[in-house]
Symmetry: C2
Subunit: 427 residues, 2 copies
């Protein structure tokens, strides 16, 4: 039985108990959320990997993606990025390698890290088809489903796929005259394959086959959006919304079959459309956890898109998004280096936390309150400890406070600050 | 006659024409906004300083503050920060020096920069009182008003003062049991002085005298908030709101006398209270431009408060805030260095722009659209040009793209991406 099937029966599993303790909620709360599909538990058959829950009423989570992309990318190079993401406290990782020894890389990640790992199986399928047929365009549906099964069986916790990117949706995007038609890399390859082979999306037509694999290995489906808008101007257009409508139906089918599912979202969304974007997903996808990419509320801040995404991510989290896919300062310009990964995770964590505070998450609110008390007490040690990144907070303090020995003597014998403090503390 | 008096008569001045061109609106729009008090024009008697308009229907503006604070701070050191703020395109500057050769520093800034400069006259008043009496607590109201006049006559564009921080408000803060009672540095000194001398706030009791000075030199009043909350937990508390109620009455008195006025706001505000905070100011202060400090939607991100403030600033701008006071990565930990100033301005500019896009500002929307078109065309040169910080965007690209020579050959003779592009472009 899958976790979802057990949850539907009200059976509390070890995974539910583990995540309940981490979240500060009851196992029953988790079990009910999983049963309804409003919470998913990302977990693995690997013993070194601890489960993470994503969804309603829980801390907003952050995922970091790495992967071999350029010809000279190496497993060691990507593992250094994984280390940076873990050091920055990313909740989950995604290995999105598109070339090189992809299976070896995945095995390395899965055997090394202590948190759930997601993949996008289309990438390795394309790479393998190129080796097998000389061109990725000759990939067969069997190749794709076999790869999904292989990855699921290896202990991948969640797999990203584009079952809603159907021919009708692609036609809609054409009619639409989008500014930036397609920015989903996996989605674009899938669409190219569909057009070249003049065929419907096999992930859609053979959805039951996909569900069977996910059920067998109890892996969480992460519905990716081939129509993810690539710029503010294309946000919430007909193609994006039609794909979401289709995904909503597939969410129900997956759930009914006992497979946990979450939905991936944009991307480029202006601030005034973020709440609607989140509400629409929650409505059309029956409350499935929403995994947003950013969101990015402007297109114009290349080099600073970790900040852009922190703005949109916080607003999305406050609006109900459950899971933030990080964005690094290198987004739109190049592949992130190790420091970019660290900065990207940290910016997303700030966004997640700001969203949690706004939603009134009791532990998030308490964290800020504890910091404020430490600030009033001028307790620097405690302030560093309570900072989202204690090491950086203390480093900035040390670098900037070299001259902090100079005391204020403005008021002579009496001190305005002490007078105020005495007044405020008096009974 | 002041600018406001001229605006009330429908007289278009050179300043109105200048800012109208910069904003892409008509001089009449500016004139009407100034007359209503919904727009203020920051301007100076110095010919090297060009006016900047702040308010409804205009681009959201960003201000950067510098100033000698530590015993070893120097004019040259602060001027280097001013240069960084100007390079990052801060719209205005504030010199908040509290010690050292303050007048010399201000003269240097006013004679050097090309944009409006604001000050907080209380600081130099306290410093001068210390020199004169041995303690800043013996400062007299005359000392304060004389200093305000001196600074206004020098060509300062806007002066920050705390006329709403009355004894009743201070008592309210005491009753309130705030977590972090006072974080406004100038406000705290004023309150300490009021308590020590057992007297009401002279900026409140002699408000007409203040207005006369501002009218004479046509300087914009920036109402500072002594009750600015110092943490999320204190946001929108009784003391903060009572002060805003009082400031609202003073806004009307200043305007009736022909003096332009804007209102400074928080500070620490959770995301779910930002819109209400902005609406309250707009309502209570008769639509006066709102100059927010951040806002910071979490207390827990020391070392990253430029990002925190970008989140809150964007949401505030979208909700109607007109002017963002930057926050640097050193906030709450130490005094910012030159790079902190640059990063702080850039983060606030991203926030301001994201807010403008959400509000549908036509030029802001066009900027993002132009970037998206350049992105689709893979026109890197144009993308850098359109980036909020072209130099950084190009540097990140150069550093990260060393291996971009490796071409994708995944699909052999045909390319999935080209197939998609061909399909989408077909008639």
């Amino acid at each position: 039985m899958t976790l979802l099937e057990k949850a539907k029966r009200g059976e509390i599993t070890a995974e539910m108990q583990y995540v309940a303790e981490k979240e500060g909620v009851t196992p029953e709360f988790i079990c009910e959320g999983v049963a309804k599909g409003e919470i998913v538990i990302l977990h693995s058959s690997r013993e070194n990997i601890h489960p993470v829950a994503v969804g309603k009423g829980l801390f907003t989570k952050v995922s970091a993606s790495v992967g071999m992309y350029e010809a000279d990318d190496t497993i060691d190079g990507e593992m250094a990025k994984i280390d940076a993401a873990v050091k920055a406290h990313a909740d989950t990782l995604m290995d999105l390698s598109v070339r090189g020894p992809i299976e070896e890389m995945r095995e390395k990640v899965l055997s090394t890290v202590d948190r759930p790992v997601g993949t996008l199986p289309m990438y390795e399928t394309l790479s393998a088809a190129e080796a097998k047929y000389g061109t990725a365009l000759d990939m067969t549906p069997d190749d794709l489903f076999d790869m999904i099964e292989k990855q699921a069986s290896q202990g991948v916790a969640f797999i990203a796929l584009h079952p809603g990117t159907t021919l009708s949706v692609i036609h809609r995007a054409k009619d639409e005259g989008r500014i930036d038609p397609l920015v989903s890399y996996g989605g674009s390859h899938l669409i190219g394959w569909m057009l070249y082979n003049n065929t419907e999306n096999p992930l859609y037509t053979e959805f039951d086959r996909l569900i069977e694999i996910c059920k067998k290995h109890d892996v969480v489906l992460s519905f990716a959006d081939g129509m993810r808008p690539g710029c503010i101007a294309d946000s919430l257009d007909h193609a994006q919304v039609e794909e979401l409508v289709i995904l909503g139906g597939l969410v129900r089918r997956a759930r009914e079959a006992g497979v946990q599912v979450m939905v991936k979202g944009p991307g480029h969304v202006p601030l005034d459309e973020i709440a609607a974007t989140v509400q629409l997903e929650k409505k059309l996808c029956y409350g499935a956890p929403y995994f947003v990419f950013g969101c990015l509320p402007t297109d114009a801040a290349a080099g600073y898109d970790h900040i852009t995404s922190a703005i949109g991510g916080a607003v999305a989290a406050y609006a109900g998004a459950d899971f933030l896919c990080y964005v690094t300062p290198a987004e739109h310009i190049g592949m992130p280096n190790v420091d970019d990964v660290y900065q990207g995770v940290m910016a997303s964590r700030i966004a997640a936390h700001a969203g949690d505070v706004a939603k009134g998450h009791p532990q998030a609110v308490k964290w800020d309150l504890d910091m404020s008390v430490a600030r009033r007490a001028m307790n620097w040690k405690e302030q560093f400890k309570l900072s989202i990144d204690p090491e950086t907070a203390e480093r900035v303090w040390r670098e900037r406070s070299t001259s902090f020995t100079s005391e204020c003597t403005m008021c002579g014998k009496y001190c305005a600050m002490k007078i105020v403090e005495k007044y405020l503390r008096a009974e």
